[in-house]
């Protein structure tokens, strides 16, 4: 089986079979990562450009590692701020890089739809590494992989995404991907950070962690951005922590031990208490490991057709 498209732009339109294929492929690559020699040859001779128009050390390193372990040649480019303000358009930047005969482009950009846009103006395979508040499909996949690893199956698994849902591409990719795999997704956060009509996506909305914790198997805790406070979306980090911070005390109300996920980097003791982040229920570091395996799977499936 193969993926139906040439690009990975988001999880919204992926079928269950496709998601299964990626997750299964990632299982084999995770085994590769356990070996003494972690490199395999499938992308030998392929060149991959990582275009990061928004700073992200973690995702970029994870992609670079995945690319190198598949024996691809890798170039990385980081530039924050909008491309327009730098004088060259995104289209020109991408076309210039493509003119150097690049096979695949991994792109991170602050603007929703940037990966779709690139897929229309260049011929290379495009992998979305996060576009604005739209999607972050490989993060969604690694979250799914990690949950599946821990719970055996995603079918009927109850997952709540906690925090700034409005601005979160991780939340959207989680919702799309997990729902397709049969999981039940809810969101919890301040009313100002829950986008309108999200119920129509089939997710339950909570505004109190106390209400949702007894109802779920896992929490995916999002990073809170201080700049949202300045825009009047929540009053203070202290208040945020008190009411929406996930702490050991609050998760004790769970019916069984909750799996704690976080896409990183963590603001310790803001959205997630330090003791919980480091507890046995936290799978945060497994997420990081799995991220490499999942990205290898995606690169492999798109790059070896």
């Amino acid at each position: 089986m193969k993926l139906s498209g040439r690009h990975l732009l988001g999880l919204e339109n992926m079928s269950r079979d496709e998601l299964d294929l990626i997750l299964e492929t990632a299982v084999s690559f995770k085994e590769v990562l356990e070996r003494p020699i972690k490199k395999v040859p499938p992308l030998q001779g392929k060149t991959i450009a990582n275009l990061f128009f928004e700073s992200s050390t973690r995702t970029r390193i994870s992609f670079e590692l995945a690319e190198r372990r598949l024996s691809a040649d890798v170039i990385s480019f980081s530039q924050s701020g909008s491309s327009v303000s730098k004088g060259e358009t995104l289209k020109d930047t991408a076309r210039n890089i493509e003119a150097m005969k690049i096979d695949m482009v991994v792109v991170r950009h602050a603007s929703a739809g940037a990966a779709h846009f690139l897929s229309r103006v260049v011929d290379a395979n495009i992998i979305n590494a996060g576009d604005g508040a739209h999607e972050h499909p490989t993060q969604g996949l690694l979250d799914m992989f990690t949950l599946r690893e821990k719970h055996g199956s995603l079918e009927n698994l109850r997952v709540c995404v906690v925090g700034d849902i409005l601005h979160s591409r991780v939340a959207r990719s989680n919702i799309y991907g997990l729902q397709t795999m049969g999981a039940k997704v809810s969101v919890c956060g301040p009313a100002t950070l829950i986008p309108r009509e999200i119920e129509r996506m089939g997710v339950a909305v909570y505004h109190r962690l106390e209400d949702v914790i007894p109802e779920v198997d896992a929490l995916n805790v999002l990073r809170v951005q201080l700049e949202r406070q300045k825009r009047g979306l929540f009053p203070s980090l202290r208040e945020y922590h008190r009411y929406f911070g996930v702490t050991k005390e609050k998760v004790q109300k769970a019916s069984r031990p909750l799996t704690i996920m976080h896409p990183g980097p963590i603001n310790r003791d803001v959205e997630l208490s330090a003791d919980l982040a480091d507890s046995e229920h936290s799978v945060i570091l497994q997420q990081v490991t799995n991220g490499v395996a999942v990205r290898m799977a995606v690169l492999y499936l798109l790059g070896t057709v």
Binding site: S82, S83, T89, R200, M201
Partner: protein, 435 residues
């Protein structure tokens, strides 16, 4: 085809549809030097007349698009008064009202005069250009523009379009001062503190795509505020530009019922497309106000039907390909509209049975002329001949490359429409489209 100055034309066999007189009959029209000499069934005509066969076509009063951006002065790379008028003429318009968000803005009588005169010089003067002047200096919303002088220079409306007149105090003064001239204040209705950074309608679609939303209540709030001010200053005339939300439409409906001098226009894209199309991230779906939900589209259509919305105006907003081929959030708002207006109106409103043909024509000619204070066009002997010829059955595919507009930013490329302008006659000049 562009006939010389002194001319006698025999327009033969067309169906005249005139919303003013209620005429809907097949008649021949004789035009001599731009004046209607006679309208009759089978006039005897000597050889000095040039005959134009309009059999199967309809003849309507010359159309007015009361909301276009001609971009000159200042943004001639997008459009000029000349290319904008060519686009209008091709689309069947004999007049346009152009918005003042040029550089410099039309906030000074010299700029207003320049725009008007330039309009007379291009396209043989077949398309009349009526400037809408800025309501405030530099469209900054802080001080009143010289409204009396601007009226003297030919301005037919006051607007800071592109931006709302945000301050309640300034809006009050704009309404009061403009009321002395009987000239409407045209509001781009948007509460700006709620729309910063937004680029599509806030709702289910923006929630799914993560694109920053423009809440529909931002339009409703501004219309509500303005109508409250209008109740306080009933001598003023207030017009809502490109109304797009069901809730704002309802406010206008009530204000009209209460006898306020409030009018509204809607664009073809707001009665045709929903925000679903923005999911493609195609920047030709980005305009302000944004495309709204199916319920809003239905409300726009019903309001066109019941008269709450008086006029159809395109908000013709040219941008170059390079300006539009960027990230969605970075792309400028707006699409071109002059050359698809008749096709969309006929296809979406007339073919569907929502509006009778004469009702649709009233929205594109009679009503906008009344709103901006231009005299009604009459199909009567001795009156200036100002008319648009439409083939109501022409099936055609929109091809942006064929647009006369300098810009090609349209979400309707490739769409099949029924009904097309085939020419215009005005100021003694005749133009047949697509030749």
């Amino acid at each position: 085809m562009n006939k010389g100055t002194s001319m006698k034309i025999h327009i033969k066999g067309g169906r005249i549809v005139d919303p003013v007189s209620g005429m809907d009959e097949e008649r021949d029209i004789l035009v001599v030097n731009g004046i209607i000499e006679r309208i009759s069934s089978r006039p005897s005509v000597d050889g000095s007349y040039q005959t134009v066969d309009m059999k199967g076509n309809i003849i309507v009063p010359g159309l007015l698009d009361m909301h276009v951006h001609l971009r000159e002065p200042g943004y001639e790379h997008k459009e000029t008064i000349e290319t904008g008028c060519e686009s209008a003429r091709e689309g069947g318009f004999t007049a346009v009202c152009c918005m003042p968000n040029t550089n410099p803005a039309i906030d000074d009588e010299s700029v207003a005069r320049y725009v008007r005169q330039k309009g007379q010089q291009v396209c043989d003067g077949i398309v009349e250009v009526y400037p809408i002047a800025a309501a405030t200096k530099g469209r900054l919303g802080e001080e009143l523009s010289p409204m009396a002088e601007l009226a003297g220079a030919g301005a037919v409306g006051y607007s800071d379009d592109g931006s709302p007149i945000a301050s309640a105090e300034i809006m009050r003064r704009v309404l009061e001062y403009s009321s002395m001239f009987g000239i409407p204040v045209i509001q781009h209705a948007e509460e700006p503190t709620m729309t910063m950074g937004g680029c599509i309608n806030e709702g289910f679609v923006s929630t799914k795509s993560g694109l920053p939303g423009i809440p529909p209540v931002a339009e409703e709030l501004m219309v509500a505020r303005d109508l409250i001010l209008l109740r306080y200053i009933p001598a003023a005339k207030y017009h809502v530009a490109h109304i797009s939300t069901a809730s704002a439409i309802e406010l206008v409906r009530r204000a009209k019922a209460d006898g306020l001098q409030a009018t509204a226009e809607a664009t073809p894209h707001h009665f045709t497309l929903t925000d679903d199309v923005t999911a493609s991230f195609d920047t030709n779906t980005k305009m302000n106000p944004p495309l709204r939900t199916a319920d809003d589209v239905e409300a726009v259509r019903q309001a066109l039907k019941d008269g709450t919305i008086d006029a159809i105006a395109t908000d013709h907003a040219p941008h170059t390909i390079d300006e539009k081929e960027v990230e969605y959030i970075e792309a400028p708002f707006g699409i071109v509209g002059l050359e698809t207006a008749i096709g969309l109106t006929m296809t979406e409103l007339v073919e569907t049975g929502l509006l009778a043909l004469d009702e649709a024509i009233a929205k594109l000619s009679t009503n906008p002329r009344r709103i901006v204070g231009l005299p009604a066009i009459k199909f009567t002997q001795g009156e200036p001949a100002n008319m648009t010829f439409i083939d109501p059955r022409a099936k055609w595919t929109v091809d942006v490359q064929r647009f006369k507009s300098k810009s090609k930013n349209s979400p309707f490329h490739g769409r099949v429409l029924t009904g097309k302008a085939i020419g215009v006659l005005n100021n003694g000049k005749m133009y047949i489209a697509g030749v």
